[in-house]
């Protein structure tokens, strides 16, 4: 496929409500500015695609991200990441998935490197849902989910 190869990072941020434990990402874009998400729809353009290599989660929610979690990612109608527990990479408790686990990993931020490439093709809807075990979330806190990897973006080339 023609296009400019690149490193791509897409993210979506949601504002929480008290007691909320389930969150949906890449589904609602209305009312969000470009710092809260860098997409306007939950699919990539016709000339764009990407491979998810790592998952980033950050939030200022009260209990932090150290409790168990369930992350599901769906591309099209296919679940590509199922009931994935991100919490093992939060903080330094000796159970991270990665051999080189940063000492800076805290209670509010974590990243997980995937073992397999997950492709988001052009113009296919995708979404993510996250369930947290701990539900003491206060009003108007934020939770951001990001996917990082490589991909292609539009390149005019000699088409025009």
């Amino acid at each position: 496929m023609p296009g400019q190869q690149t490193t791509r990072y897409i993210y979506d941020s949601v504002t929480t409500v008290a007691g909320q434990t389930s969150f949906s990402f890449f589904q609602t874009f209305a009312g969000k500015n470009d710092l809260q998400t860098n997409l306007t729809t939950n699919k990539l353009d016709s000339s764009e695609s990407m491979v998810i290599k790592s998952i980033y989660l950050r939030g200022n929610i009260t209990p932090g991200l150290t409790g168990h979690s369930n992350l599901n990612i769906t591309v099209g109608n296919q679940v590509v990441l199922k009931d994935f527990n991100l919490a093992f990479n939060a903080t330094n408790r000796g159970v991270s998935f990665d051999r080189l686990h940063s000492g800076f990993s805290g209670t509010t931020v974590l990243e997980v490197r995937l073992l397999t490439d997950i492709v988001i093709p052009p113009q296919v809807n995708f979404k993510a849902t996250l369930e947290l075990a701990e539900n003491t979330t206060l009003v108007s806190e934020n939770l951001t989910l990001g996917f990082k990897g490589y991909g292609t973006i539009f390149s005019a080339g000699s088409t025009f």
Binding site: Q78, D83, A87, L115, T116
Partner: protein, 191 residues
Amino acid sequence: MPARNIKGNVQAQDKILYVANKLGLSSLKYMQATTRVVYDQSTTAATQHTLFEGAAARSFPLTNLGANGNQFQVDEALLVEKIAFFIPDAADGENFTGNTNRSFKFDLIIGNKTVMKDVVVEAGGQQAFYTDGTAASLVIDLEGVGILIPPQVEFKIQAKLMNSSTREAVSERVGCYLFGTGVLLNFNTSI
């Protein structure tokens, strides 16, 4: 092909397909590859625990196995590449702690076969491999490529806790995860 011939530079997905072929799982190669972690917790303090067995009766956050419990559904599998133990901090199983002085002796049993026997995850025992912040690692990397849990076969872990220094039995809660390359069901046809 003898097992020794699949060592070397074989990749995780190669091993999944090799074992699937041996087991006659001809459709597994058409399924969705993924990264997967399954975990289970025993939140009543004891010196010995059986994990994953009976997980269908538990729900999140005690486990993420769901209604199928300790067996994967049709055309789902997990190549176990890392195993780690942790200690739930309360009976609700919502969170857990790290530790520096607990070792976990365990057997991994798949179907009727013990595939890992009397293995110990020592506190800090993988310092040569893991730089996990400032914490002592409680993860064991499986040598070679890993061990495949095929679809629809029950698996469990039998574990004992001990004090890493004194080698005395310890009564505490225990949690465990199995992490590696996974396979998810993908209907490649219209149904």
